[in-house]
Symmetry: C2
């Protein structure tokens, strides 16, 4: 299984601490060696760093770890290849433009017999089920809403419907952002934490590293971190129930409508281990 | 004026030497301090490194200089802002997907009163004339050829026509690649060199650095380097005549049709300084 990491904040924040533990899962503390990538939104722009090499030994990861890029929305992914060779074009996260905004997508899971019909407006460059699902989502949104972005509520409802439809074909944990919103869908395993004042002393699970966020934040800062499994071993992470879509903005979940994506015929897989709490 | 750098090769080649001199133009030997970017195609995939900070002092540029990414097609750009603020979303090169391929575009020049009609399929995210021109090109190609890529000859003819049309509105030097071809349009100043065996001893213009390519290449290697002005001071660079489109593949120009884009009402600006030769 791949590893996902997302961050959504109310002020631009660097992800150096969380990334430090996360990248160790790409070849050191875990076996996801088939490349990695990370995308940082900065205003309307986005920077995507991709590397088909394992993140634990990547010079690009070394840069990202030490260069504090401050962002409101970050999506990172470490790959354990299921469909598609280990090649740059199969490395997550993927990027497209719709309605004059960049969209970034990363997926954890495996979709079986997924062969949607596409209009040609968004076409996969690589051979993963993940990029195909992303193109199908973008294609459907473009067709449904035309050339103008819908309301957040309408967008959320459409994504919930699509997550349910695609989720019938297999595991479909994903992170999707347009720079304003971070949409998080859990089909089997994802958890999150919202950090705000008084900030905790946080200790990484994958590396012996502790940070006191009070020293590097203001009392108004709020940061949501979303990950496949908890990144720290002394904080209370919240498991996202399987079959749930959550929209994050300004560092916490925002209610845009019912988030359940579980249909009756949804293939329930084991939910995430709930013993994340210290 | 911005600075452009392109590379097209017959075997994957790193651009560390040329980039070393090129990046110095972003704040050291020249005054282009408004950000920079570089895109490397690797197979069908592409890695784009962007930084709104000056390249001469950028940690990302430091990585690119020392991390030998091998590529058949590279496009780099150092920005001197004319239209659009200094922001990440206005930093070249720009990326879109069409026909299941990534397309990368960088522009040097300034288009006045450019307000094309767009279908909505490709929409600028930032506020530069450059990204608008790129979206107009992609939009026109998608409309003209539908959902399948045309022959290289038909693509070349369409690009020549578009370069001529847009070039009427101002300086329009650009580099465009889909990973297979590198299209180079000169409206005022661009030059190139094709390096092949016996390779020269090359010395940078912007930094006291010499490399003997014979030590790092095989006799079959062929590399075309395209730049706004010559990057070395002891080699013969070829000035591209103003109003010319050239298609590079496998490290040299390929004849796909007449390359002239100069119409009678084309605003002729001063051609590049022709004293590049050592």
């Amino acid at each position: 299984m791949c590893q996902l990491l997302g961050m959504n904040c109310n002020v631009p924040t660097d992800i150096c601490f969380s990334f430090s533990g996360f990248r160790a899962r790409g070849g050191l503390t875990d076996h996801h060696r088939d490349g990695w990538g990370i995308a940082f939104f900065e205003g309307r722009g986005v920077r995507v760093f991709l590397d088909p090499a394992p993140s634990a030994h990547s010079p690009v990861a070394e840069l990202v770890k030490h260069y504090p890029i401050r962002s409101l929305n970050v999506i990172a992914h470490i790959r354990k290849a299921t469909q598609g060779e280990v090649r740059l074009e199969n490395t997550h996260p993927f990027q497209r433009e719709l309605w004059g905004r960049y969209w970034i997508f990363a997926h954890n899971g495996n979709l079986k017999d997924f062969a949607p019909s596409l209009s040609g407006r968004f076409t996969p460059v690589g051979t993963t089920d993940s990029e195909l699902a992303f193109c199908f989502i973008m294609d459907t949104l473009a067709q449904r809403f035309g050339d103008g972005a819908p309301t957040p509520e309408a967008l959320f409802a459409a994504l919930r419907e699509l997550a349910c439809e695609i989720g019938r074909l297999g595991e479909f944990n994903f992170l999707l952002s347009d720079g304003d919103w971070l949409f998080v869908h859990c089909s089997s395993r994802l958890c999150y934490i919202v950090r705000q004042a008084p900030f905790p002393l946080a200790h990484l699970s994958d590396e012996d590293l502790t940070v006191d966020f009070n020293e590097v934040t203001t009392p108004e800062d709020r940061v949501a971190v979303i990950a496949t499994t908890a990144l720290t071993d002394n904080e209370a992470w919240t498991d996202i129930p399987a079959g749930t879509l959550i929209a994050f903005q300004n560092g916490h979940p925002v209610e845009l409508g019912p988030g359940a994506t579980v249909a009756q015929d949804y293939p329930r897989t084991a939910a995430g281990d709930s013993s994340h709490n210290a």
